[in-house]
């Protein structure tokens, strides 16, 4: 119903606009009437065909009604740039005096001393603001930054003027929100890079082999914990983070096995490990938290003392792992946890730490 009333108003005003122009022939009126009927029937290509055949839409002498109908039709066809050009023309040429006063007053003192604005001009302000907003959102990648800012600024200026006026069609209200939302999404999708340092408490269970003097081979588990210091480089937007990071861990291990053939125990064994690898993290609900995988490549050494006559193997190994990783971020600071398996380690690896970005 609202749409019908809006359409009726447009067509009525288009007729008025056309008749208000000079040098309008009977044939002009007939073609214009045909075009209006085609517009009412949703045959937008035909509208433009008819108007282009009869009128030169680039000619300043073309009646306003024809230009406005063409602009509305371009809107329907999502050709917002063409629509915007026509609205700009209608505003700056056909309402040259009124528009100059309005814009002059706006630039001089904002919304405080705006003159009376013709209803038709207000309608063109609305339509042009809508067209500029559509171009801003849809053609964002093609627009030069300065032009993009100008489009947004102009659209918001028209919205501000419309808010101050008694213009009744309040659909312009949504334009600022749509622009802000688009800017927000754009910002969220933009990837940024940063370096960071990190420090973590880490615990893992390792495994070494012992070959006894009688040739018997046995696996011995170790338990350790330590601190890992390092850093990384991240590439992220508000939805994803990819990073490569590494750290150097210094840990104290306890190693031991006691059975009928082995009695070996050592406490406080120094173990050093280098972890380096990529992470891929998903930020499901907000940029404040992320969850994903880390694939570390690991070089680990241990200063285990060989029992007399026995040989220890795998005191230094190179391996890799797969860890679940979660992180929480607040501005430059963050906390993270890692939990998973390193190949050739006897059980899980845990890490909990903090990082700071630069």
């Amino acid at each position: 119903m609202v749409l019908r009333a809006f359409l009726f108003t447009i067509l009525l005003s288009l007729t008025g606009s056309l008749l208000a122009q000079t040098r309008i022939t009977t044939e002009d009126k007939r073609i214009f009437a045909q075009a209006k009927r085609a517009y009412s029937g949703g045959r937008y290509d035909l509208v433009l065909n008819l108007l282009n055949r009869r009128f030169n839409l680039r000619d300043p002498k073309t009646p306003s009604g024809a230009l406005a109908l063409a602009a509305y039709t371009y809107e329907k066809l999502d050709q917002w740039k063409n629509a915007e050009t026509l609205y700009a023309y209608l505003i700056t040429r056909r309402y040259k005096g009124d528009n100059r006063k309005v814009i002059g007053a706006y630039k001089a003192s904002g919304l405080d001393d705006l003159p009376d604005i013709p209803k038709k001009l207000l309608q063109f302000y609305h339509r042009r603001a809508e067209a500029l907003a559509q171009i801003y959102v849809n053609d964002h990648r093609r627009l030069r930054p300065r032009l993009k800012d100008l489009y947004k600024k102009t659209a918001l200026m028209y919205v501000a003027i419309l808010e101050e006026s008694d213009y009744e069609d309040d659909r312009f209200d949504t334009i600022p929100d749509r622009l802000e939302k688009f800017d927000g999404e754009l910002e969220a999708r933009r990837f940024e890079t940063a370096w960071y340092v990190k420090s973590a408490y880490m615990s893992w269970r390792d495994q070494i082999s012992i070959i006894l003097p009688n040739g018997q081979r046995s696996e011995i588990d170790t338990t350790g914990e330590g601190l890992c210091l390092g850093g990384g480089w991240r590439y992220e937007n508000e939805y994803w983070e990819f990073n490569v990071n590494g750290c150097y861990a210094s840990a104290a291990m306890t190693v031991g096995k006691e059975n009928s053939s082995i009695n070996y125990f050592q406490n406080g064994v120094a173990s050093n490990a280098l972890f380096f690898g990529p992470s891929a993290l998903w930020k499901p609900s907000s940029k404040g938290a992320a969850f994903g995988f880390h694939i570390p490549f690991v070089y680990r050494t241990g200063d285990y003392t060989e029992p007399q006559g026995a040989v220890l193997e795998e005191t230094s190994i190179f391996t890799f792992g797969y860890l679940l990783e979660a992180q929480w971020r607040y501005e430059k600071w963050g906390a993270f946890t890692q939990f998973g398996k390193i190949r050739r380690f006897s059980s899980s690896l845990w890490a909990f730490g903090i990082h700071r970005s630069f």
């Binding site: 588990d221 170790t222 306890t254 190693v255 609900s285 907000s286 940029k287 929480w328």
Partner: protein, 383 residues
């Protein structure tokens, strides 16, 4: 130590969710009749759970938040009066201990089944100004006492009167949880076991509560649970304090003292709750407990810390991790760490599923032992 682990699984409950600081909710009183959480939810708490916390995957697209609010009352209905608020909840646990042990058996345990009635007797404009709340529940026999036929499996979980003097002050009297630390729903947590704040550790007492946008303070003298034998009742006091730095940062501290004929305990803790973005949080508590066995004239000081993280993967679905440290005796070597990643899913109002893996590692200077892996699954229903 083994006994502690064993008993712990039987004392798991969850009603209060302090991690909702991730949504900007700093104070428990917003959603619970009890100002420090746990126990029945207020109308607002139920509506909040239905609309903002639980997933809406089971509802049709035409269901509006108003519809969910209207279904958030007792038995999914809209309350027919403003003075009576009944509720029920059930929690069942699937437990498989020591996954590496082929001989270990899986168990299904009905951890609790509670019926609550809350009377809202305040004036019409503020019905919660004066409340009476009582919860009766089923509790399985502790494993350590499973052969004892005299163990009562039905007990009052809480019963108390509450009066809000004004917007800031409230007084509560009756059987309640003690105010100490962060009331995480994991009663198997070292932080809850060591400080005697698990599912069946409520105490009769008086709770004085002060709240303001910046502060929550609770002071609670208690006389033990009167249903217990007089000589084992822990009498003493607890106090907790939380300060709102902003709506996502809430540090605090707690102290607790209890004494019976056999045991004296002193506990103190610092804690913090931090929110990140929407729904994500990190909570941490570090504390120390001194226990004096009076008859044996022995004294033990234990230390613990706990970090629990929540990451909101989608509406209602959390990836969580509980990291815990326990040093049973600060004067002895050895400590235990436990890493517990899990998933918690509020599928709809009244239905929560949770699964956790617990990887326990013992650090000792005299031996090397294998890690222990336990698996738990929980279903929590509330009406």
């Amino acid at each position: 130590m083994f006994l502690i682990f064993l008993c712990a699984w039987l004392t798991e409950d969850a009603k209060a969710y302090p991690n909702f600081i991730g949504y900007g909710y700093t104070s428990c009183l917003t959603c619970h009749y009890n100002p420090f959480g746990n126990g029945p939810l207020t109308d607002y708490g139920r509506a909040l759970g239905a609309t903002s916390i639980a997933d809406d995957i089971l509802y049709s697209k035409s269901t509006t938040p108003d519809d969910l609010t209207n279904r958030s009352g007792f038995m999914f209905s809209k309350p027919s009066n403003d003075w009576l608020r009944p509720s029920m909840d059930y929690r069942g646990l699937f437990l498989r201990r020591d996954l590496a042990n082929d001989l270990a058996e899986s168990e299904l345990i009905h951890m609790d089944a509670n019926v609550n009635i809350t009377l809202r007797l305040g004036p019409k404009e503020n019905k919660d100004k004066f409340i009476i709340s009582a919860t009766m529940g089923y509790a399985p026999k502790p494993r350590s006492n499973s052969a004892n036929q005299d163990v009562d499996q039905y007990r009052s979980r809480e019963h108390y009167l509450g009066y809000r003097i004004n917007q800031n002050w409230g007084v509560y009297a009756g059987l309640m949880d003690k105010v100490y630390g962060i009331r995480i729903p994991d009663h198997n947590s070292f932080a809850r076991i060591l400080t005697a704040n698990t599912m069946n550790d409520q105490s009769h007492g008086l709770l004085i509560h002060y709240t303001s946008p910046k502060l929550d303070i609770g002071i609670q003298p208690f006389i033990g649970n009167l249903a217990e034998e007089a000589n084992v009742r822990q009498q003493g006091g607890a106090a907790t304090f939380e300060y709102t730095v902003n709506n996502k940062t809430r540090p605090g501290m707690s102290i607790q003292y209890g004494s019976s004929e056999f045991l004296k305990t002193y506990a103190a803790a610092l804690h913090t709750r931090l929110g990140f973005g929407k729904g994500n949080s990190i909570m941490g508590e570090i504390g120390q407990v001194k226990s004096e066995q009076i008859k044996r004239a022995t004294e033990t000081t234990s230390r613990y810390w706990m970090i629990q993280t929540h990451l909101l993967a989608r509406k209602g679905l959390f990836i969580l991790n509980t990291i815990e440290y326990l040093k049973s005796n600060v004067d002895a070597e050895g400590k235990t760490l436990r890493w517990g990643p899990g998933i918690q899913y509020f599928i709809a109002q009244g239905l929560e599923l949770r699964a956790d893996i617990y990887n326990t590692r013992v650090f000792s200077d005299v031996s090397v032992s294998d890690d222990v892996w336990d698996l738990t699954g929980q279903v929590h229903l509330w009406f």
